[in-house]
Amino acid sequence: MARIVVVTSGKGGAGKTTTSAAIATGLAMRGHKTVVIDFDVGLRNLDLVMGCERRVVYDFVNVINGEATLRQALIQDKRIKTLAILPASQTRDKEALTPEGVGKIIEELRKDFDYVVCDSPAGIEHGAMMAMYHADDAIVVTNPEVSSVRDSDRMLGLLSSKSRRAEQDELPVSCHLLLSRYDALRVQRGEMLSLQDVQDILAIPLLGVIPESPAVLHASNSGTPVIYDEKSEAGLAYGDAVARFLGEERPHRFLEPRRQGFFAWLFRKMR
């Protein structure tokens, strides 16, 4: 039986799509049959980040409307056999995702896959609610910044009251914090909320801390999920997060600023 994992945040630009691509790829790399679904109808981008934008023929809404079968719409990843992508529709509006239609597709995917990763759109409207409704796990992507933390808290409230598990009185959705765009140096200087600050407020278990890294932009530029970039801190941090998600114990890295040489320090002072 597959686990449904929603990647959500409330706020836009927190790194949901980057995270969905990285986590889905990471799960598939470890041999789990994984499908990643883009719920951002009208503003699809997961296809670009995954590098399969030119292979989209049918989409999520086509399947819901019965214009294509699920098999036709699923895009097999070129790099990993166990990974598939279900793109969002670029032309319809959000309301095209009907609760029944989404439910049916999720149930079908549950049979064939180990993990169904749902990339939520920003906001708390229809698309976001559809993405999180069926979730067993939620990865809440948060930036160490006031608006993002507030929105994440709002999202956590919705997960505990409006999800299928909440409505059917099952065990609650298990929520994990993924703190992204973390700049340890600015935290040290007191310019940015620390990991501890965010944990004090949100009070959910920590999946990982993704440091701010130029590698994320490089990765989306080339359509290769950043988890492949094992030279970058962000790529390694996502690797750790996937391992922790699967139950491995891994120490958290990149929480302290890198030691700077004297000249780097001097240069910074002079600017």
Binding site: V149, R150, D153, L156, S160, L193, D200, I201, L202
Partner: protein, 107 residues
């Protein structure tokens, strides 16, 4: 080194004020968005009951909703006036209950 520590501790960093502001607004919003529509009414009714016996003002009853893992904790603070003469108020904090999920209640 001590001198530097002293200098540092005086500064209120922006991260610190961010955290404080967040804690206040989020505690407030958790009540409003908790899905428990009864919380504001509960607050009002509690106040009414307390007022029947003790003269307290509007601000005396504070309700906070907190989360600890899967547990939601409803914290009710009632500020009681100590006696007529002293203006000093005494705060009693009562942790009422935690719910949501399988974890045992904390009473």
């Amino acid at each position: 080194m001590r001198f530097f520590d002293y200098y540092r501790s005086k500064k209120v960093t922006s991260a610190k004020s961010a955290k404080e502001r967040l804690q206040i607004i989020i505690a407030h919003e958790r009540i409003q968005n908790s899905g428990h529509d009864y919380l504001p009414i509960l607050q009002k009714e509690l106040l009414d009951v307390i007022r029947k016996y003790i003269p307290v003002d509007e601000e005396a009853v504070k309700i906070d909703l907190d989360r600890e893992g899967v547990c939601e904790i409803l914290e009710i603070n009632v500020t009681l006036p100590q006696n007529e003469e002293s203006a000093k108020a005494k705060t009693r904090s009562v942790r009422l209950f935690g719910r949501k999920g399988p974890a045992p209640f904390e009473v």
